[in-house]
């Protein structure tokens, strides 16, 4: 049973860094055979990242109208029509396009789940707003739960309260 976790976003666009922030936390708590990575939204790389996986757990930041900052939405293939459109994403072509391309080209994981968190600040610079930062831990736990239900694997490694690894140092994530 193979599983991947993909955090979408851009650490330099404030709350858009939520996906990568969740991915970093998840990576520190799961076994090495769970592939955890980040994505800037390039659809071709997303198709490769989840190719052949039994489960892909995707995490992204979204902006909704009307806004409900901090709200966590869970989408699965039964709810594709409700997915945020590419125009609300800072990622160019967009996740919805990548999922639809994957479906048409038979390149989807066996099962996928998307956690989309409503955020407030997509300005330039690093750091999550308090609302987005507060959503990280609940989403991390939800992702771990999805993984456990599919792989039977419990989280490992450091405790949730331990300091996060320093991913701002390029050497640490190469």
């Amino acid at each position: 049973m193979t599983a991947v976790v993909l955090g979408l976003g851009n650490d330099y666009r404030r709350d858009d860094g939520l996906g990568p922030a969740v991915a970093r936390e998840v990576a520190a708590r799961v076994a090495a055979d769970i592939q955890v990575s980040t994505s800037d939204g390039d659809p071709t790389r997303m198709l490769d990242a989840w190719a052949g996986a039994d489960l892909a757990v995707l995490v992204d930041a979204v902006v909704s109208e009307p806004p409900r900052p901090g709200t966590v939405h869970r989408f699965d293939p039964t709810a594709v029509a409700e997915l945020p459109t590419p125009n609300t994403s800072t990622h160019g072509v967009g996740l919805a396009t990548a999922l639809e391309l994957g479906r048409m080209l038979d390149r989807l994981p066996r099962r996928w789940v998307l956690y989309a968190v409503e955020v407030v600040d997509l300005g330039y610079g690093r750091g999550l707003s308090p609302v987005a930062a507060g959503a990280v831990e609940p989403v991390v736990r939800a992702v771990l739960s999805e993984l456990a239900s599919t792989t039977g694997q419990q989280s490992v490694g450091r405790s949730p309260n331990a300091p996060a690894p320093d991913w701002s140092n390029p050497a640490a994530c190469s």
Partner: protein
């Protein structure tokens, strides 16, 4: 057109990298104002680079763009190496060029297949293309993957490569590590040639631009990672003279500056590169250009998709040539000591000439930084083309006129990640 004023608002433009806004005002049957509104992240980067260590710009500026991070890294390295009078080993330069070929392939293929081609096929997007021509999208995915593989292998990771440093690379790959790339690129060459055949079969409007053209030229090869500045007006100068010829000025509607080349509107990017350097294309790339019907110059912005496809063929072939002759450089980088100096760096990002300028103090801290991305340089030319098109299509309904504007903008593959966040369109007809 019976009414003196019409107004339409389009909230977002699809199939460009990012988001932004275009305002068109039509008065008395003429395009009165065409304003491409750009918010320009590089200006923020210029500010927070001040006070940083001189070895940091390649890693920091690569974050400006997820599509062309290598261009930012290489222009930054070129500027800082010039400032520190650092001589780079040819084998290291080869590796840098190979990495850049990967970015050209990945970026061009993304634009050709996923953003631009649907315009010529009457399709709304790449999903529709996958539905009508699955083989084409599969070909695009395979080519993109080959470009990504170069970035992964040499850059250390797929997004925002971490292996580049001032003076070279943190670690140079072995020949054995490059062998799988050669195999993948060998197959990709066939797809690249097929891409040129495919796009050359599209129907193109018969339009020729008269903008001045600006690109790099290398003495012995199609310029990518370095070269001297040349223009269609006969300009020929090194990187340090870029600020003397390219002058930016403020425009009211945008936080991005408009650039002029010796006081005139100009264009940088694939059309400029090809028109100024097509004689340096070799092998299959030259054959493909001829077969596609390209002359020694190409000034039709719609046919930029053909030029990009030819450049993909060239980048695949060049990558194969570099891998074939590759000898692992040791050391993988030249050690560099800071000095009180100014450095200018240029390279050919997929979308055109990317200029960096840094000032260093004696402690190796940056006291000033200037970054001029290609999309900012092309902004005035894009607006000029939009104004011409709006005037030529005034009788079109608002939706159709918007579609015309969107196609024109996509001709330039604007990297909004670099130069703006794109695009809400407002058309105001008075």
């Amino acid at each position: 057109m019976t009414s003196a004023r019409r107004e339409l608002i389009v909230r977002a433009l699809a199939r460009v990298e990012g988001e932004g806004r275009l305002d068109v005002t039509i008065r008395d049957g003429r395009a009165d104002r065409v304003a491409l509104a750009i918010y320009e992240p590089p200006r923020f980067f210029e500010s927070f680079l001040r006070g940083r260590h001189y070895l940091e710009p390649p890693d920091i500026t690569s974050r400006i763009c997820g599509i062309c991070p290598v261009a930012y890294q290489v222009s930054a390295c070129n500027a800082l190496e010039q400032a520190c009078a650092l001589k780079i080993d040819d084998a290291v330069l080869d590796l840098r060029r190979l990495l850049y070929c990967g970015e050209w392939i990945a970026s061009h293929v993304l634009h050709i297949y996923f953003l631009h081609a649907p315009d010529f096929l009457g399709l709304p997007d790449s999903i529709a293309l996958a539905r009508t021509d699955r083989a084409a999208i599969e070909r695009g995915l395979a080519l993109k993957k080959a470009g990504n593989a170069i970035l992964d292998t040499i850059g250390g990771r797929p997004i925002h490569p971490v292996n580049v440093r001032v003076g070279g690379f943190h670690r140079a790959p072995t020949r054995t590590e490059l062998a799988p790339l050669a195999e993948q690129l060998g197959a990709a060459l066939e797809y690249a040639v097929a891409t040129v055949d495919w796009v050359s079969s599209f129907t193109y409007p018969d339009i020729e631009l008269d903008h001045d053209l600006l690109a790099l030229r290398h003495e012995s090869r199609y310029a990518i990672e370095d070269g001297e500045i040349v223009s269609s007006t006969g300009l020929r100068c090194p990187a340090e003279e870029f600020p003397r010829h390219v002058v930016e000025h403020q425009v009211p509607h945008s936080t991005a500056l408009h650039a002029e080349l010796d006081g005139r509107r100009y264009l940088t990017g694939p059309l400029a590169r090809y028109s100024l350097n097509s004689s340096q294309l070799t092998g299959q790339a030259a054959s493909s250009a001829t077969a596609a019907g390209l002359d020694v110059q190409c000034r039709n912005p719609y046919r930029s998709i053909v030029v990009r496809a030819v450049e993909v063929v060239y980048a695949v072939e060049e990558a194969l040539r570099i891998i074939d002759r590759y000898q692992r450089p040791a050391p993988s980088f030249a050690a560099v000591a800071p000095k009180y100096a100014v450095g200018h760096g240029i390279s050919e990002a997929p979308r055109g000439l990317l200029y960096h300028r840094y000032e260093l103090d004696t402690d190796g801290l940056l006291t000033a930084a200037i970054i001029i991305p290609p999309t900012s340089q092309n902004q005035a030319a894009i607006e000029h083309d939009l104004r011409t098109a709006v005037n030529a299509h005034l009788t079109l309904a608002d939706d159709d006129l918007t579609a015309v504007c969107e196609r024109i903008i996509r001709n330039y593959d604007p990297c909004i990640s670099c130069a703006t966040h794109f695009l809400t369109l407002t058309i105001d007809r008075r």
